[in-house]
């Protein structure tokens, strides 16, 4: 079974982002970039499926600027067999990415597409569900456990009240939550091997997709900062403050 995984290049999760002074966005120049953590989990799951003999080929896809090649090389080092970059300098919004991935799915015909549930830059949480809609496929979002069978997958999802298990018909879309697995570290020999794996570059035009943004960002501002309060010596002082100053209890 062919498995497709999409990976996004984002500001590393350890970086405290800074809003640009002119309010046009956040500072991304000279900032450490990494693979979106949820996409690492997606890729790890695909690699485990291949190691278990269920998946036969893993294709990693990234949509974005040329530098996404680095993210794809990381994906190849983790265990993807080949990579596709859909290169664009446009700001790619989730609907556009879903359309690009749909075009690639129609070409590659995977039985399963695994995506991160959200990217930690725009926090949209949309692309997987949109891709499922555009393809007319089933979806299981926020997965914490996945069991694949011949024509279906049984997926446990992290939902508001606890856990929910659904059975989805293949081909299907699964989006990952944090507890699905713990991604492996990339090893040096695998980084070397990844350099020799194929990486194809396509343009949105070649896939017949209009990627023009539908949302216009008017401004980006820093949220109001909370001020650090006071340190108190003990529980007695705290209860006094909560009762008589903050009046919350």
């Amino acid at each position: 079974m062919k498995v497709l995984v999409s990976v996004k290049r984002v500001v590393d999760f350890n970086v405290k982002v800074r809003v640009k002074a002119d309010g046009s966005g956040v500072e991304t120049a000279n900032v450490k970039m990494s693979m979106n953590p949820f996409d690492e989990i997606a890729l790890e799951e695909a690699v485990r499926l291949k190691e278990a003999g269920v998946a036969t080929e893993i294709i990693a896809v990234s949509c974005g600027v040329q530098a996404c090649q680095e993210t794809l090389r990381t994906a190849l080092a983790i265990g993807a067999d080949r990579a596709i970059l859909v290169e664009s300098n446009e700001e790619l919004q989730p609907l556009a990415v879903a359309k690009l991935l749909k075009a690639i799915c129609q070409k590659e015909a995977p039985q399963l597409v695994i995506l991160g549930k959200q990217a930690i830059d725009d926090d949209s949480n949309q692309t997987g569900q949109m891709l499922a809609a555009l393809l007319g496929w089933s979806q299981a979002t926020f997965a914490s456990k996945m069991v694949l069978e011949k024509e279906k997958a049984t997926v446990t999802r992290e939902v508001d009240g606890g856990l929910e298990t659904v059975s989805i018909k293949l081909p299907a879309i699964v989006t990952t939550d944090l507890r699905l697995n713990e991604p492996r570290y990339v090893t040096l020999p695998n980084i070397m091997k990844a350099k020799k794996k194929p990486l194809e570059t396509l343009k949105p035009d070649a896939l017949g997709v209009d990627v023009a943004p539908r949302l216009q960002t008017l401004k980006v501002l820093e949220p109001a900062k909370r001020k650090a309060g006071v340190k108190l010596p003990d529980a007695k002082a705290l209860v006094d403050k909560l009762r008589n100053e903050a009046k919350v209890i």
Partner: protein, 311 residues
Amino acid sequence: MAILVIAEHDHGTLKGATLNTVAAAQKIGGDIHVLVAGHKAEGAAKAAAQIAGVAKVLSADAPQLGEFLAENVAALVVSLARNYSHILAPATSNGKDVTPRVAALLDVQQISEIIAVEAADTFVRPIYAGNALATVKSKDPIKVITVRTTGFDAVASTGGSASIEKVDPPADSGLSSFVSREVSKSERPELTAAKIVVSGGRGMGSGENFKLLEPLADKLNAAMGASRAAVDAGFVPNDWQVGQTGKIVAPELYVAIGISGAIQHLAGMKDSRVIVAINKDEEAPIFQVADYGIVGDLFKVVPELVEELKK
């Protein structure tokens, strides 16, 4: 212009998140219709009709809507969409599952987790774990939106008397089916709706030690939450997680115990009115957002706190 709000409910009763979403719809302005999609969901439909400011309730009641499967619910919403300028759902796990599917089928770029309405086509939403707030304008003919419930004060759950209109349910897609649900049982208030939240982090040390927080939560009638570190370590269930990718809460009082305060955790609770931190590390970032802090051993401070509250 009319606005469709997708209700969050458990068939019998309506969830509070619906009231916050109606509040966001009121900020946009226009007739507000609430869709109750479910099975044997008369109770929820009747409750929706009582919400202040709701003009009409649409009730789609069928077995294939009983488990809120995204494929079926999205097909239903799309079948109704042409009558609306805006479609809103709360950013709950159901809302996040269904709404992008609706948006894609309508060829619309969804606007996720809005916290403010600037105009009928312009909204504010947090990005980068809430470290930046983006104001975005939609060019799409129908605005498909999820609402961060902490951004909008709930409207009154009574005072309205909307009519309830039946709408045709979609056929079952046959793509997915419900298998089982493991609901965390608790007598405590729901995490996202509680006035007070007591959360524990890695500093709790074990799941067993979380029991230490129970008398405190009991005393305060609080919901219990946790940081990602505590959930990942298996101390507590996943649905306790507060943070960027977990639950977003904004209670009157948030008590963070043994939580260092990673930006991802702060993203989920920094809009709380009053924050208390108890941590043995005085350098912990949680103290930078806490109104009141105690630097000390939580295993000593928490029982003392319970004793003081009894006085």
